[in-house]
Symmetry: C2
Subunit: 219 residues, 2 copies
């Protein structure tokens, strides 16, 4: 048999290969974030591959599990959330720290719809998110205790009210269209006002006992 002429491009340099791989990776992560924002984290892998313009096999080579893709896609936002919590815990004013976490996380929710879908949502417990989530719950618990002990946060504030805020903010940012950021700020302003301890408060309806996992189901 005569030798086939090669139609392949000349072999790329290692640098060019690395740049290619990096670009592919970024394209997949961007497509994943867009798809999650539009359709939630249950969107099929094939739809993400199509959106990124890569084959499903290529996608799986870079991100062997669904969880690894989601984790990577939102790594930046998760780091930002942990950072917000750490900063809040270091704030010498417990009330200011408490407020800053809500303001930052709700602003992130308003800026990126996909984030809510992914945030601490329906992940298998062995995923790297589970550790983050436990750490977040611990940090929030401490933040709340400090703010109550300082007499700044109303004593009947419940840890499940954190989820209540995030779900409410999700509703506002989903529904407010181009006014999402302004509407989210206004909502958070009102809610923080009502969380503040003041002598004249009446009794509240009991806490709804929402778990952080509920956020996963919030469209």
């Amino acid at each position: 048999m005569p030798a086939q002429p090669s139609h392949n491009p000349p072999p790329a340099t290692p640098d060019a290969l690395r740049a290619d791989a990096r670009e592919n990776r970024e394209r997949i992560l961007r497509a994943a974030r867009e798809a999650y924002a539009l359709h939630g984290i249950d969107v099929p892998i094939s739809a993400i591959a199509r959106r990124a313009g890569v084959g499903v096999a290529t996608l799986y080579r870079r991100f062997p599990t669904r969880t690894s893709l989601i984790t990577e896609a939102f790594a930046e936002q998760l780091t930002e959330c942990s950072g917000a919590l750490d900063e809040a815990l270091e704030d010498p004013d417990p009330w200011r720290g408490f407020c800053s976490v809500f303001r930052k996380v709700c602003a992130m929710q308003a800026a990126d719809r996909g984030f809510t879908h992914a945030f601490l949502a329906r992940f298998p417990d062995e995923s790297s998110y589970a550790g983050e989530r436990d750490r977040a719950e611990e940090g929030l618990g401490l933040l709340i205790r400090r703010a109550k002990e300082a007499g700044a946060l109303r004593p009947d504030f419940d840890v499940s009210d954190v989820v209540l805020v995030l779900l409410a903010n999700n509703g506002v940012t989903n529904g407010a269209g181009p006014d999402a950021t302004a509407a989210s700020r206004r909502l958070v302003g009102y809610l923080l006002d009502s969380f503040r301890a003041t002598p004249a408060r009446g009794p509240l309806p009991p806490p709804a006992g929402l778990e952080l996992d509920r956020l996963g189901a919030a469209g």
Copy 2:
């Protein structure tokens, strides 16, 4: 040609016919409410007909336009809303009246997801909803003015904050699953607390200027 034997059932009495038609109508309205709850008010008529187990032609005979179907499907809830507003306006205590409207409408939202989709949403202005909406806006304006004049409602409360509450409540009831009612009550409790005029309030972020129409886009 020989006469065809008739396979039709014996002719129904007028009463039975009326009962049949009524049952059909109820079945269609029930299917419509379920479909709106699941998929929003943009769900195709054919899907509603399928769910009701009737033909598209039958559905169109009873409800010649999409708007007539939506209006009928939520007639009861709309009447309840108007009633809540009227009662609130008659309450000698403007603050109690103000609170009662939010409590009632948010409880309705929590009980029926489809209601939010339909509530004052993206209707052609000539529909019978437009008149209801104008009336609701007028009534709300009056309710707010009275509560402010009584010194009970904070002066920086804006009429667009009504939409903010409904969007937030929508997020909570969509996301809270079986805890929807408890979560909605808790949220409304917090928000009404923060709407109450008290001397120590700080400034709020500016109103988001949301229009009632925004509710239509809230999934």
